[in-house]
């Protein structure tokens, strides 16, 4: 009796009727270890060569804090902007049929495909004080390139497809009847969009946000060209890691990386928890 309860307790879910669970799970775990866990463990192993006080002093170093703040801050703002305009682009692509729709649809993917350095160089040329767009802002004493604004613009460019590509398929599957139901109940278009459609897209929007944000935190190639990399002002954490590496300060580099890893992981975990909670309520969201 006790042995059966012990064995059933280890079965977390009803065993599936499809065979091969053990094999595929084993393979998945081994693969994840190889690709993700072992490199990350190496990172933490390296960082653990530091003593606690050394680690803390790197963490509380003004320059580290400033770099982390810029990395996470710009990634957050860029992801929020991408959510707003990404959903808008989805709406246009899903709801309207117009000549050139497929072309625009394909264009959304360009930031995926373009080498990030190319994007970075193009953006910094555009937004430099004498660039095509930057020149417009110079008279107002607004500088875009070589400031956090420039970094944010680069991250918006990089993150847009993540939002569009996650929200679009879900938006396509919205049942027309739900909108019609709202209309028969007296809701105007504005109420239908904001009380019915957007809330039902929320899980997908959050996934898109999380992806764009995570990508923005780790982005390096496109940012370093437009950022100007001025310490305390426009220096991102990934760049600081590279600088430490070039100084042969491997422990310092891994310490910063570990901190980034922990913060990113915590944020993604929270977003995932919120999502699984909402999925439990709304069903397949």
């Amino acid at each position: 009796m006790t042995s059966t309860t012990a064995s059933t307790r280890w079965r977390l879910k009803e065993p599936s009727i499809i065979p091969g669970f053990g094999l595929t799970l084993g393979f998945s775990l081994a693969y994840l270890c190889l690709i993700i866990l072992i490199p990350l463990a190496g990172l933490i192993f390296r960082a653990s060569s530091l003593s606690a006080s050394e680690f803390l002093s790197i963490l509380t170093d003004e320059r580290t804090l400033a770099a982390l703040k810029i990395s996470f801050g710009t990634a957050l703002i860029a992801a929020l902007i991408n959510v707003v305009f990404g959903v808008l682009i989805c709406w246009v692509l899903v709801r309207y049929d117009f000549p050139g729709r497929r072309l625009i649809d394909a264009m959304v993917d360009l930031p995926f495909a373009l080498p990030t350095a190319v994007a970075g160089i193009a953006l910094s040329a555009l937004y430099a004080p004498k660039g095509w767009i930057g020149a417009w802002f110079t008279p107002f004493d607004i500088r875009i390139a070589y400031t956090p604004i420039g970094i944010t613009i680069a991250l918006i460019f990089i993150g847009l497809p993540f939002v569009v590509r996650t929200v679009q398929p879900v938006m396509e599957e919205i049942d027309r009847e739900v909108e019609e139901a709202a209309a028969t109940l007296g809701a105007n278009r504005f109420q239908t969009v904001f009380k019915v459609l957007l809330p039902s897209l929320l899980p997908a929007i959050m996934t898109g946000f999380a992806l764009a944000f995570a990508r923005g935190v780790g982005e390096y190639g496109s940012v370093v060209f437009i950022a100007g990399n001025i310490p305390y002002v426009s220096e991102i954490a990934p760049l600081l890691i590279v600088i430490r590496l070039e100084e042969f300060n491997y422990a310092g580099a891994t310490a910063i990386a570990t901190i980034m890893l922990v913060i990113s992981f915590a944020m993604l975990l929270i977003i995932n928890l919120i999502q699984s909670w909402s999925r439990g309520r709304y069903g397949n969201g």
């Binding site: 709202a182 109940l185 809701a187």
Partner: protein
């Protein structure tokens, strides 16, 4: 609220979905739009709702022309086949939605909305489920939430699009009975669409039989079943056996023999004879009747259905016999329909 559909035509990309349809819906009645898929019944319902605009014709609510009013202005309750509940809202929020979206000048106070929701939940027998989300409910419960949501805005007309189409047979029967009681209690003018004739006959005060974008017949269950107005209605509602006959000298002829049916007042010439397989009498010896050979036999729930060949295997008809009837394959059966109907084929 009376609803008048007057000479309405609806075309989708030049394809006519409704062709010059007129219909008077009386205040307080429960009326069914019945027809096969593609007959235009859902299109007609959506036009009444204002979810689509007619290409031609008018729709009147009472005396007022509603043709160019938006869905929101028409104040109708619409229940969709797949419920169309807002899945991110609780049952209570779903039901209160129509009240919550009203402008603040006409929106009832919060406490009143809460009370209205509680009353409606009680009416649809779902009290205690207000905090649930739609995906935590069964299909039948979801459909009743959808109905409560539609009723919350005190609609002038209640429109139901295949309300039980997505439910299993047992729940469907229960809900059907329940809807009838619900209608009798609330007295709303109700129009529902169905392709299930049994549902339409059992539930509706009047049945509108539709085919190919036109209304074939409007009448009570007795009317459309006992006095079908066209061959289509006879075939579509209930079982039908059909024979090509001729009317001559006030008598019905099958090929070269009379079959003992008087056709007073029917048009002379080629006709189709329709009768119900169960509505026949058996005769021994055939001096003017149908004379068939049994070529097939199937067991139905309460009877046995025989397939008969008539007139030297030219025609086939079906008749029902009691389960214990001794008819064997190839044996002869003489019968005559007790009630029948003739439709002239010379048109």
């Amino acid at each position: 609220m009376e609803v008048t559909v007057s000479n309405v035509t609806k075309e989708f990309a030049r394809f006519p979905a409704l062709n010059d349809v007129s219909l008077d819906i009386r205040s307080g009645e429960l009326i069914a739009l019945l027809g096969p898929s593609g007959s235009g019944k859902t299109t007609l319902l959506r036009l009444i709702a204002g979810l689509d605009q007619p290409t031609n014709g008018k729709i009147l609510f009472g005396r007022e022309d509603a043709s160019h009013k938006s869905v929101q202005e028409r104040n109708i309750g619409f229940v969709f086949q797949h419920y169309a509940l807002f899945r991110h809202m609780t049952v209570a929020d779903n039901i209160a939605f129509g009240l919550n979206v009203r402008p603040s000048s006409t929106r009832p106070p919060k406490a009143e909305i809460r009370k209205r929701v509680a009353d409606l939940l009680e009416m649809v027998q779902l009290s205690g489920l207000e905090k649930r989300y739609p995906n935590q409910l069964s299909g039948g419960q979801r459909q009743r939430v959808a109905l409560a949501r539609a009723m919350a805005i005190e609609p002038r007309v209640l429109l139901l699009d295949e309300p039980f189409g997505a439910l299993d047979a047992k729940v469907r029967k229960e809900l059907r009975k329940w809807l009838r009681e619900f209608h009798d209690r609330t007295g709303h003018t109700t129009v529902f669409v169905t392709h299930d004739q049994e549902e339409a006959l059992e539930l509706a005060d009047r049945v509108v039989v539709m085919s190919q974008g036109k209304i074939e017949q409007v009448g009570s269950a007795d009317d459309v079943y006992d006095k079908p107005g066209s061959p289509f209605v006879h075939r579509f509602i209930g079982e039908a056996s059909e024979l090509p006959v001729r009317v001559e000298n006030g008598e019905v002829w099958l090929d070269d023999r009379t079959v003992g049916l008087k056709a007073d007042g029917a048009a002379e010439g080629p006709s189709s004879l329709f009768f119900r397989p169960h509505d026949i009498e058996f005769l021994s010896g055939c001096g003017g009747c149908f004379d068939g050979v049994v070529v097939g036999s199937r067991r139905l729930a309460g009877a046995r259905r025989l397939e008969l060949e008539l007139g030297g295997s030219q025609y086939r008809v079906e008749v029902d016999v009691p389960v214990d009837h001794p008819a064997a394959l190839r044996s002869q059966i003489n019968f005559r329909p007790k009630h029948w109907q003739l439709f002239s084929r010379s048109v």
